[in-house]
């Protein structure tokens, strides 16, 4: 925010009225909790959850500040492994979403203007029902008695393979992740593709580009900003997601989100939960920074 003392008093007041509420909101609900979390990560866990006191008269209890949680995080390879696995799941979800969303977004963007709104509505229609209900619905669809499982396993047996358990598997987690996050990829892609000037494709064709070249040389590079924002909107929430692995994943399918949730609700180790959250935040910020650098190239002409 640049300081502009030349502004008349009314305009300055208006500026504060407009930017004030979100500023206060972010301060209260983003900055303050963040600081609390950072502070909490250097504390000892309380006996029954919460945090141990900073100072205590009883020398037997844990007190003061410590780097123990951080040391703990790096001492056991299992946490890095969960991070890595979560990254791979987020990456796979993002890629699958991108592959599924791109043709759909392109189809919507190239449809007659009248039907576009209806198609966009259909894309966001799932949001009309509760997130958990939609994920639970996948439990039924992927369940061993459902037609889908029966068909897949029937085929596998016929081909001489062992039947598989679809539900409570990494596969089910991925299906749920892709299903829930697909609209977040479709919408930014559509918004981008819809803005492309169709005369550019005419020009490319006129200058000798076939359909394949028209896509890779014109449509795709011009859609990079849409790809970047869609990917960020999918990748980041998937990284922290715990409900879908909880419901659709097996006991071994723990991701960072589950791990953090477990520290607060299960083992009641708030400092370690805070540490994990900070690690996740740092990782996400790194990725966003990277994406912004890559995407900056695209946004220059968008």
């Amino acid at each position: 925010m640049t300081d502009s003392p030349q502004l008349p008093r009314g305009a300055r007041l208006a500026k504060w009225l407009v930017s004030g509420p979100p500023f206060v909101y972010l301060l209260l609900f983003f900055v303050a909790p963040g600081i609390i979390m950072v502070l909490a990560s250097f504390r000892y866990p309380g006996e029954f959850g919460g945090l141990a006191p900073l100072a205590s008269s009883d020398p037997g209890t844990l007190q003061g500040l410590t780097l123990e949680t951080y040391a703990f995080f790096f001492s056991d390879i299992i946490y890095s492994y969960v991070f890595l696995k979560s990254f791979l799941v987020a990456l796979a979800t993002t890629l699958i979403c991108l592959l599924m969303a791109y043709p759909l977004a392109l189809l919507i963007a190239r449809s007659p203007k009248k039907s576009r709104d209806l198609m966009v509505l259909l894309v966001i229609l799932p949001f009309a029902s509760n997130f958990l209900i939609r994920v639970y619905a996948w439990m039924i669809i992927l369940g061993p008695q459902a037609a889908f499982s029966q068909t897949v396993n029937g085929l596998l047996t016929a081909l001489g393979f062992e039947p598989v358990h679809l539900l409570f598997s990494p596969f089910a987690v991925l299906v749920g992740m892709v299903y829930v996050h697909l609209p977040f990829m479709v919408l930014p892609l559509y918004t981008n593709l819809e803005k492309h000037d169709p005369v550019l494709l005419d020009a490319a064709q006129d200058l000798g580009a076939n359909a394949w070249q028209r896509f890779w040389r014109v449509t795709f590079p011009l859609s990079l900003p849409g790809i970047f924002s869609g990917s960020a909107l999918v990748f980041i929430p998937v990284l922290g997601m715990f409900a879908i692995p909880d419901i659709l994943g097996g006991t071994g399918d723990m991701l960072i989100g589950n791990l953090i949730k477990e520290q607060f609700l299960g083992t009641r180790d708030w400092p370690f939960g805070s540490t994990l959250s900070i690690m996740l935040t740092i990782a996400v910020l790194l990725i966003v920074w990277l994406a912004a650098r890559l995407g900056g190239r695209g946004r220059r002409y968008a």
């Binding site: 000037d197 005369v199 550019l200 005419d202 020009a203 490319a204 064709q205 006129d206 200058l207 000798g208 580009a209 076939n210 070249q213 040389r217 014109v218 590079p221 011009l222 695209g298 220059r300 002409y301 968008a302």
Partner: protein, 361 residues
């Protein structure tokens, strides 16, 4: 040598006939213009030549070969679009190199020809700029370089000067003429601006309602329009409803109701009693108070209704006895012509017997 030939080309959109049985031949190396008001079918013809649209009937032949089965990307025809259609994600050099890349030319050739093409349009210093960093005139030049770099047999130009301001447009006209002469590629230019068409073209096809109204050299179109539409569309012209009362070899005698007789140049096919219009260009009309106007074969009394001073010339609107208004254009610098009239002045209008023309209805 004929470069492009349209044979009885018709294109319909539902009930609307956009192009109606058009036949024309464009010579190799020619600067050919399709001129007409919007909706006259000129852009449809351009799109059919480029390959974005196909004729319902008739044929389009390039160097004698029917183009019907050749898709747009395979035709040796490039287009300069009205909006330039530059690729925003590519630099100027990237845009110009695009058709060469599509044609899979070797890298060294692409570099060299891109450089040459940019030199030709004086944009070598902008090779690494992006389109959004360019002015309208510069974008126009990039589009031209991109269209010409792969040496197409035909360059189509769709109202390419429409988005430029007046001064720049004039500059680009001169550049287009020079460029076309230098590269020797056949240009097919589409415009609704008759001034542009007259200035640039070797030949012009004036189009109206899907048909070619007249195909001629610019000077011919201006001095000898064959229909009222062409006369009206190209430049300014005065029109008076008239009837033929004598059709001779050397001249026509016309009767204009409420005004009298006019002697006009002869016209083949004109018959006594035929109704039509007498048309005369404003710059052929003389205006004065002295007798020199009275000595002309055609002269009438009139009253100056209004005038438009335009610096180099003044345009007078003069009312005649029958209520019609004639526009007369007088240069302000010519000696003896510097006299200015005021609105309300009673003047004499006159013109030579070989000026103007009779047009069939």
């Amino acid at each position: 040598m004929a470069s492009l030939e349209l044979r009885n080309v018709t294109r319909r959109f539902g009930d609307f006939v956009a192009v109606d049985d058009v036949s024309l031949t464009i010579e190799s190396g020619e600067f050919f213009t399709l001129l007409g008001p919007s909706g006259c079918g000129k852009t449809t013809i351009l799109r059919m030549i480029a390959g974005f649209d196909l004729p319902d009937e008739g044929q389009i032949l390039l160097d004698g070969r029917d183009l019907a089965d050749t898709s747009a990307e395979k035709r040796p025809v490039h287009t300069v679009f009205q909006s330039y259609a530059l690729f925003p994600h590519l630099t100027v050099a990237g845009n110009v190199a695009f058709p060469l890349k599509m044609a899979r030319r070797p890298e060294s050739e692409i570099r060299q020809r891109t450089r040459e093409a940019l030199d030709q349009v004086h944009l070598s210093d902008k090779a690494n700029a992006y389109p959004h960093e360019l002015s309208g005139g510069q974008k126009q030049r990039v589009a031209l370089a991109r269209g010409l770099v792969n040496r197409p047999r035909l360059l189509l130009l769709d109202e390419p000067l429409g988005a430029l301001d007046a001064k720049l447009r004039e500059e680009m006209q001169v550049e287009l003429i020079n460029l076309q002469r230098d590269v020797g590629i056949t240009f097919v230019f589409v415009t609704h601006a008759q001034v542009e068409a007259l200035a640039l073209s070797h030949r012009i096809a004036v189009m109206n309602e899907g048909r070619v109204a007249q195909l001629d050299e610019p000077a011919k179109l201006y001095s000898a329009p064959r229909t009222r539409f062409v006369a009206d569309f190209i430049g300014q012209i005065n029109q008076l409803p008239a009837q033929v009362i004598e059709a001779g070899r050397s001249h026509l005698r016309l009767s204009v109701e409420g005004l009298g007789e006019i002697v006009a140049p002869p016209l083949q096919g004109a018959k006594v009693g035929e109704q039509g219009v007498y048309a005369i260009r404003p710059e052929q009309v003389r205006i004065g108070v002295h007798d020199e106007v009275g000595e002309l074969k055609n002269h009438f009394a009139g009253e100056v209704r209004s005038l438009l001073y335009q610096g180099d010339v003044t345009v007078y609107k003069v009312g005649l006895a029958n209520g019609a208004t004639i526009e007369a254009l007088l240069p302000n610098s010519a000696s003896g012509r510097a006299q200015l009239f005021e609105a309300g002045d009673v003047v004499k209008l006159g013109w030579r017997h070989d000026a103007g023309m009779f047009l069939h209805d």
